[in-house]
Symmetry: C2
Subunit: 372 residues, 2 copies
C-alpha cells in the first residue's frame, strides 16, 4: 500500500471563486477502535453537490489541469460568496458516503479486517478513509462495494420519511421527484409497510418505471390537470404529509392545495378559515433552486419546512437509528438497491462530461465514483 | 324591547355571487345559563373580512338597496366559487366579537343582568346576541362597550404570540404590520414581559408611532437595506420566531434569511446545509393575498406555517386560556386599548365609503360597528 492517496477537494476563495481538484495526501492511519477503508464505490448524491460546487455558477466552469490531475474552476457570484463565508478559503474534502474493504484496523476493530463495509461521514471521494468501527455498516456476506455504496443517505432518508409520518401522526405520504433512487426505495418500503404513497414524477417514462415497481398512485406533474389528479389521490389515500425534493416553483403550494381540496370533500371539512386538518410539506432537497411560490389557498392549518437526515436521526434516538440501519443491511440488495448510469474514477469525475452530468441532478443519471 | 332586530348577512350563490345585506330576524332568547347581550360595539377585524366578502372581487361591487336596508353585491370569480363550496347558498351572520349590555338572562346567569360584557363566537353584527354566560368576559366597572369591543381577537392573539414563543423554545419575536392595534398591544406586552421584539412597519409614520410607544427595534420594510437592518436586529435580539400578518410577497422569506444571517455571525454558526438553529415564521393573516415568494437561502432548519387563535387556545389548554382572559380584563384600558377611526351603524357599514374603507384593512383605519 502506498503512503499517499488522491483526495477530492473543493475550495472557494473570494479571489478565484470555486476550484475543484485532486490533492495528494497521506493515507490516514486507523487509531484505536478505528478501521481504514479502501474506498471502492461512492455515489454522487444531490446532497453532495452543495459542498462540491457551493454557490458557483457552473455555466461558467473552466476545465483545466492534466488528465491525472484535472482542475475545474467556476466563478462565484457576489451574493453566493456571502452565503459561503463559513467555508471560505478552506480546502474541503467531499463525499458523504461510500463503501469498500477494510485494509487496516486499530485495537479492538480487528474483526472487520478484510470485510466489506459502508461508511458515512464525509471525505469518501478519496482512495482511503479511516472511521470509527462502530459507525460502519458491515455489508452482508457476498455484497459488493457498489451494492453497499449508497447504504446511508437514500435508505435512511426514505425510512425517515415513513418514521416521520408515524411520529407526526399522518397516515400516508406524497413524494416528489419520485422516480429517483430514493423514490424507488420509498415505493418498496411503503408497499412492504402498507403505507399509502402518492408518487409525483415529471414524465410518462418515469411514471411507467414506478408502475413497473408496483406503485399504485403515480401522477405526472406536467399533466394539465395535475392538481385535480393529485386531489383525487389525496382523497383516496388521506395524505396530509409530503416530502419534496424540488423546493423551487409552484408545486409545493399546489400539493398543499390538493390536500385541502381533498379534505374539503370530507363531511364537515369546511370552516371559514379553511379546514382544521394540519397539512405538512417538508422540503428535503433543492433540485430547483428557484424561489418557492405559494398561493395560500389551503386555509391556515398548514406547515412547510426543511427536513434533513441528521437532525431527524437525532429526533428518532440512537435505538431507532440502529433499527433503521439493521433493516438497510438486511434488505440491501432488494428494497435498497440503487442504480448508477455512470462509473467514474476520481480524475474522470472532473471531466467536462462528468461534471455536466452529475451537476444536472437528473433522475436516472446517477454517478458512482470508483476511486481505484 | 322589540321582538325583531337587524342582523348582518353574507350570502354567496353560484348565480349571483356575493350579496351582503341586513336581515330582520327574531331577537334570540336567553336559555338556561345564557345571557342576551345588546350589542353596542363590534370591531371589523381583518379576520372578519374572509366571512364578510369571501372570495368576491370587490372592485366589481355594486351598492344598492335603501338607506335603511342597503344591499351590496359583488361578483365571485370561478376559482373563488370552488373555494367557497362549503358556505354556498347559506346566509351567514358575521362579526367575531363585540361588547354590550346584558338585557336578559336565563336561569343561573341572573347575576350578569345590567352588566357590560365582551363576547366572542360570531353574529355580533346584529342588535342582540345570546351566548353562554361562561363564555362572556365581564368588563371592569366603568369600562365602556367600545373599550371592551376588541377584548378577544387582538388581545388573545398578541398574548398567544408570546405564549407560543415560550412553548416553542424561542426567546424573541419579529412582528410584521406592527403598527396595527394588535401590534401596539404586542409592544406593550413585550415591554412588560421583557421579551425582545422586532417591529416591521411599512412607513416612517408607523415607525414614529411605535417609537412613541417605547418600541426599541422598529424597521421600515420599504428601506433599501431592509434585510441588513433586520439581520442586525436579529443579532441583537436573538430572534428566531416571526409572526407575519401579511403572507404575500417576499418579506416572509426575507425574515427567515435575516435570521439565518444573524445566526451565521455566531461562533460555529456555519454548516454546509446552513445553520442548525430552527427558524420559524407563522403566517397569521393575509393582508397581502398575493403568492408567498421565498428564496430559500436560509439553510434547512426552518419552518413556515399558519397560526390561528382557536387551535392555539386548544393547545394552551383551558387553564392557560383563562389566565390570558384574566389579564385582558385587568389591563383592558391600558395594554389592550384599541383605536378606531370610524364608527358605523349596521346600515352605514354597507355604504360605499365604509365598505371601501374596511375592505382595505389598512393599518390605522379600523372600523367599529355600533348597531344602535
Amino acid at each position: 500500500m502506498s503512503e499517499t492517496m488522491l483526495q477530492f477537494r473543493s475550495l472557494i476563495t473570494a479571489e478565484s471563486g470555486l476550484e475543484m481538484s485532486l490533492a495528494e495526501v497521506p493515507v490516514p492511519v486507523a487509531g484505536d477502535g478505528e478501521i481504514l477503508v479502501r474506498i471502492e464505490a461512492a455515489p454522487i448524491n444531490p446532497s453532495d453537490i452543495g459542498l462540491l460546487c457551493g454557490a458557483a455558477d457552473m455555466t461558467g466552469a473552466v476545465f483545466g489541469g492534466t488528465a491525472s490531475h484535472p482542475v475545474v474552476t467556476a466563478p462565484v457570484p457576489p451574493a453566493g460568496l456571502r452565503a459561503m463565508a463559513g467555508r471560505m478559503g478552506q480546502s474541503m474534502p467531499c463525499g458523504n458516503e461510500g463503501a469498500g474493504t477494510v485494509v487496516a484496523a486499530g485495537a479492538g476493530a480487528e474483526a472487520l479486517l478484510g470485510r466489506k463495509v459502508a461508511i458515512i461521514g464525509g471525505a469518501t471521494y478519496a482512495g482511503y478513509r479511516a472511521v470509527r468501527a462502530s459507525d460502519a455498516l458491515l455489508l452482508p456476506e457476498g455484497a459488493t462495494a457498489e451494492q453497499g455504496a449508497s447504504s446511508f443517505v437514500n435508505p435512511l432518508t426514505a425510512l425517515g420519511f415513513v418514521e416521520t409520518m408515524r411520529l407526526d401522526g399522518h397516515s400516508a405520504i406524497i413524494h416528489t421527484a419520485a422516480a429517483s433512487n430514493l423514490g424507488q426505495m420509498l415505493v418498496r418500503i411503503c408497499a412492504a409497510d402498507k403505507v399509502p404513497l402518492v408518487n409525483i414524477v415529471r414524465s410518462a417514462q418515469q411514471a411507467a418505471l414506478l408502475h413497473g415497481l408496483g406503485a399504485t398512485h403515480v401522477i405526472d406533474m406536467t399533466a394539465p390537470d395535475f392538481v385535480a389528479q393529485l386531489a383525487d389521490a389525496c382523497e383516496k389515500t388521506g395524505a396530509t404529509l409530503a416530502f419534496d425534493a424540488i423546493g423551487g416553483g409552484t408545486q409545493a403550494g399546489q400539493i398543499l392545495t390538493a390536500m385541502e381540496i381533498a379534505i374539503g370533500r370530507r363531511p364537515g371539512g369546511y370552516s371559514r378559515y379553511g379546514s382544521e386538518v394540519h397539512k405538512q410539506l417538508y422540503v428535503y432537497g433543492g433540485l430547483d433552486m428557484a424561489p418557492t411560490v405559494m398561493t395560500r389557498g389551503f386555509g391556515m392549518a398548514w406547515g412547510m419546512g426543511g427536513w434533513l437526515l441528521f437532525p431527524f436521526l437525532k429526533r428518532l434516538g440512537a435505538e431507532g437509528a440502529e433499527r433503521l440501519k439493521a433493516r438497510v443491511a438486511a434488505e440491501l440488495t432488494t428494497t435498497f438497491a440503487s442504480h448508477y448510469s455512470a462509473r467514474v474514477s476520481l480524475a474522470e469525475m472532473l471531466s467536462e462530461d462528468a461534471v455536466k452530468g452529475w451537476y444536472r441532478r437528473a433522475t436516472g443519471t446517477k454517478y458512482l465514483v470508483v476511486p481505484d
